[in-house]
């Protein structure tokens, strides 16, 4: 993740500006911003390592990474939408619908698992497309458009499953969510498996690949530049020849697609499709973007920041769990963390 973090800094450094003093202070500011979020991440890790022996282990690291994947992937989509000045409240419901569709496709239509999951992801894209069209063509406020989709998608997911979980999906359905890369298992003399290295879970690999790809898209491509320009000033972007509607639409489709993917990964992990899965996930996704410095006013935000934000939430949950803090107290703490980080962000911007 740190390699992405330095992305923007590198851009700033390559510039041959005239005034070195300004360059430096710009860079320092940028570093400070990264360190504020990263610092709290490191601080959390240290604290939890001290309070719990089981926290700082490879196994738990992988567990956290796995837990973070859903917020992380959703957060990446949310970041792109928020940078344009929009918001996507539907991702929690869309992921449930996508997962349910994938499961039903396997169970009822006997589709091969990869094809069924692709169908689920495409359902997510379709939901995103509808969101985007409502925003760009019907000119609905993003909040309303995606609020509607949040209810519709959840309703459809409940309807087609009769509000029951879809189970008995077979082992191959669980591969994506439970498999791992480079997993090393020895069979000991008693015939029990001994896990030497838990491997890198596929969802984690997926998240990293997506994060790198989207970060490159935002920083390095014309499309990314256009996304920022729309959030900064949509009218100026339009008058500069940016295809505002098309680019905005793209961000919603991306967010929907990533929600669909998250749905498939989540349901695969449980090897059961729950139409009630993912409630409030949209808020976690938005929270991770906001903790990572994305501005809800649009025009500002990075994927590296969002990744840090997702990990802050993930580590908090995991660490508090290990310390036996109740789920209710966890919510309170995470809520306060969101308020705190955004407040610090405001302070920094005011300077």
């Amino acid at each position: 993740m740190t390699s992405l973090t330095s992305e923007t800094q590198k851009n700033q450094m390559t510039a041959g500006g005239k005034n070195e003093r300004f360059q430096l202070s710009d860079r320092q500011k940028d570093l400070l911003q990264k360190f504020a979020a990263l610092g709290s991440l490191i601080a959390l890790t240290l604290i939890f390592s001290l309070t719990s022996n089981a926290f700082f282990t490879v196994n738990n690291g992988m567990t956290i990474a796995l837990q973070v994947t859903s917020i992380g992937i959703l957060g990446i989509g949310a970041t792109c939408v928020i940078i344009t000045g929009g918001i996507d409240l539907s991702v929690g419901s869309v992921l449930a619908l996508a997962g349910v569709v994938a499961a039903l496709a396997v169970k009822e239509l006997n589709m091969p698992v990869p094809v069924a999951m692709l169908a689920g992801i495409l359902i997510g894209s379709l939901c995103g497309l509808i969101n985007g069209l409502c925003v760009t063509h019907l000119k609905l406020p993003p909040f309303i458009a995606t609020l509607g989709m949040m209810m519709v998608a959840r309703g459809v997911a409940l309807q087609i499953t009769g509000a029951r979980a879809v189970s008995g999906l077979g082992e191959s359905f669980g591969e994506l969510g439970n498999g791992a890369f480079l997993r090393i298992v020895n069979i000991d003399q008693n015939g029990f498996p001994d896990v030497v290295f838990p491997g890198i879970p596929y969802p984690v690999i997926l998240m990293v690949v997506i994060a790198v790809a989207v970060a490159l898209m935002l920083n390095r491509t014309v499309l990314g530049r256009h996304i920022y320009s729309i959030g900064s000033n949509a009218e100026a972007a339009r008058l500069s020849g940016v295809h505002v509607a098309r680019v905005t639409l793209f961000t919603y489709v991306l967010s929907g697609t990533l929600a669909g993917l998250t749905g498939c990964v989540l349901m695969s992990r449980l090897v059961t499709a729950q139409p009630n899965e993912g409630v409030m996930y949209e808020l976690d996704a938005i929270a991770s973007a906001v903790i990572g410095g994305t501005s809800l006013m649009g025009g500002v935000g990075t994927i590296s920041g969002t990744a840090i934000g997702a990990f802050v939430i993930g580590i908090l949950r995991n660490g508090l769990n290990m310390n036996g803090v109740s789920a209710f107290t966890q919510q309170i703490i995470i809520g306060l963390v969101i308020l705190g980080t955004v407040w610090i962000d405001q302070l920094r911007n005011r300077r």
Partner: protein
């Protein structure tokens, strides 16, 4: 202040005399001071009492010393103008007076007592109010609600609407302006909004008013009325700090003038003791050359753009004109005559109802700005911050926004080295003053922002440029640079359209002038053969009566 209020009360008892302005959106209910023998005289008029004194004010921002040891004082009942180029420190000084910024060194005393304003609220409390260039009113609330925003008279827990309305009406009548306190602010003209801001300041019993470019978007008649109001405020002992780029208007109201350059105090004189040329040369730090550069090229006969019968209902009707290669064509007319609307429609920003556009003799269909940009047409909006720039983005990102293909490969991956090089080239070419090409444009001065917009379209290789009020709110030096740039563009065979409300500018820069009146093109004149009077004639719609 007591005396002021009493005097006003006296004045309100006078029978209001209607005085209509020819075109103004405002009406004055006040008789002229000199023509009214019943009016009480004010001993405050020539008072030498210093009401506000700043000493050795220094303010630094990261990397820039915005103000260095600047002194300033204001007498009761005077208008004290502050002049300087963009970036000279005027705005910073005003923000220090109004409490928005705190000085790093130096003292502020108001009525003999030293003050430290922690915020603009502190300054307002003691009686210093600022009328902002970008007006700070809430569009959806009424005039009365805006004037008493956050200070609403209450009746128990409810707002006392009757008192609110009556007090607001009282305030507005004090100014002699006829605005209904129940009108929502969004329905007012800019001039009316300004009057509401002034009324608000007076309701705060302000004794010092800071006016930042108050006339920049007013018509002539509205300006006249504003000056009447300013004269009355002077009479009643209010001190006014006045910032404007329109030096020609200042003679009417300004008593003293202070000139700043590069954050330093240059001079403070009685306005009558200096000439406009003196002021300008002190502002720029060199003797004044011509206000307009010589045209170095002549237009070709090659028609670049020809439009025929352009109509957009409610905005303009049956507009036809042509633009030749290497020509600078002026669009003259009063505000709201449809000049901007025509330019926007040709650029594809607004739809057309009828009419043809031909480029190089070939018909061209433009449905969006993208089509226009692809055809080499550029439009530089009068509203730089609202429509021209992505203000949260950097200089480099703004410069390349209209031509990303020029700095990216065919897969849309940006080549940062190329972007940096390109940006640096335009920053040097246009002499854009910025600490770095990665500076966020919001932090740059108006003139430099305008240059970035120009650079953006130059990098796009535009062949036709519409400049909409390019010099509004820009200092003399930067204005000259922009005129010169237009001339150079024309010399390269680019067609330039200059939309301007300033006739000297139109006459000084263009080859031909198209004059608009209420959505119609009333005349197209050769600049060399015309004059201000003739253009005004057509602009005010008397064309029919003229032979």
């Amino acid at each position: 202040m007591r005396g002021f209020l009493a005097n006003l009360a006296d004045r309100l008892d006078l029978p209001p005399r209607e005085r209509r302005h020819a075109q103004g959106a405002l009406r004055s209910k006040r008789g002229h001071g000199a023509s009214n023998p019943d009016r009480p005289t004010f001993d405050t008029k020539t008072s030498d009492e210093i009401i506000l004194r700043l000493e050795a004010i220094t303010k630094e921002f990261p990397g820039v010393r915005a103000l260095s040891q600047v002194p300033f004082d204001l007498k009761r009942g005077e208008v004290h103008a502050v002049c300087g180029e963009n970036g000279a420190g005027k705005s910073t000084l005003m923000k220090i007076i109004s409490g928005v910024y705190q000085p790093d060194a130096g003292t502020i005393s108001f009525k003999g007592r030293e003050h430290h304003f922690g915020s603009s609220l502190d300054a307002e409390t003691v009686g210093i109010a600022m009328i902002h260039q970008e007006l700070n009113l809430v569009p959806h609330l009424t005039v009365a609600e805006n004037i008493y925003l956050a200070r609403e008279p209450t009746h128990g827990i409810f707002i006392d609407k009757a008192k609110l309305r009556a007090d607001a009406r009282h305030c507005l009548e004090r100014l002699g302006v006829d605005i209904d306190p129940d009108t929502p602010v969004r329905a007012l003209s800019v001039a009316q909004c300004q009057m509401v801001e002034i009324a608000k300041a007076l309701s705060l019993e302000a004794e010092v008013l800071i006016m930042d470019e108050p006339t920049s978007s007013l018509t002539e008649a509205e300006t006249t009325l504003l000056f009447d109001v300013i004269r009355d405020l002077k009479q009643s002992g209010v001190g006014i700090v006045y910032i404007s780029h329109r030096l020609d208007e200042m003679a009417e109201i300004v008593d003293r003038v202070t000139i700043l350059r590069d954050g330093r105090h240059v001079s403070t004189d009685a306005f009558s003791a200096v000439t406009v040329d003196d002021i300008v040369s002190r502002m720029v730090g060199r003797p004044l050359e011509d206000k307009f550069p010589e045209r170095t090229s002549t237009p070709t006969d090659d028609v670049l753009l020809a439009v025929e019968g352009l109509t957009r209902r409610g905005a303009f009707h049956d507009i036809s004109f042509s633009l030749r290669r290497g020509e600078i064509l002026g669009f003259a007319g009063l505000m709201g005559a449809g000049r901007t609307e025509v330019a926007r429609a040709i650029f594809g920003a607004d739809p057309l109802d009828a009419g043809q556009i031909a480029l190089h003799g070939k018909p061209l269909e433009i449905r969006s700005p993208r089509d226009a940009i692809a055809a080499g047409i550029a439009y530089l909006s009068e509203d730089r911050k609202g429509q021209g720039l992505a203000v949260k983005m950097s200089v480099a990102q703004n410069l390349t926004l209209a031509n990303m293909a020029g700095v990216a490969d065919r897969f849309g991956v940006i080549d940062f080295q190329r972007e940096t090089g390109t940006t640096q080239r335009y920053v040097d070419l246009l002499n854009i003053r910025t600490p770095s090409i990665h500076q966020v444009v919001r932090l740059l001065s108006g003139g430099n922002q305008q240059k970035i917009v120009i650079g953006k379209w130059l990098f796009r290789d535009s062949r036709i440029l519409f400049f909409d009020e390019p010099t509004r709110g820009i200092d003399v030096g930067a204005k000259f640079a922009i005129y010169k740039m237009m001339d150079e563009l024309a010399a390269q065979g680019i067609g330039v359209v200059l939309i301007s409300s300033e006739l000297p500018e139109i006459l000084g820069v263009t080859d031909r002038v198209a004059v608009f009146h209420e959505g119609k093109l009333t005349a197209t004149l050769n600049t060399r053969d015309t004059n201000q009077e003739e253009i005004m004639h057509y602009a005010s719609g008397y064309a029919g009566t003229r032979s």
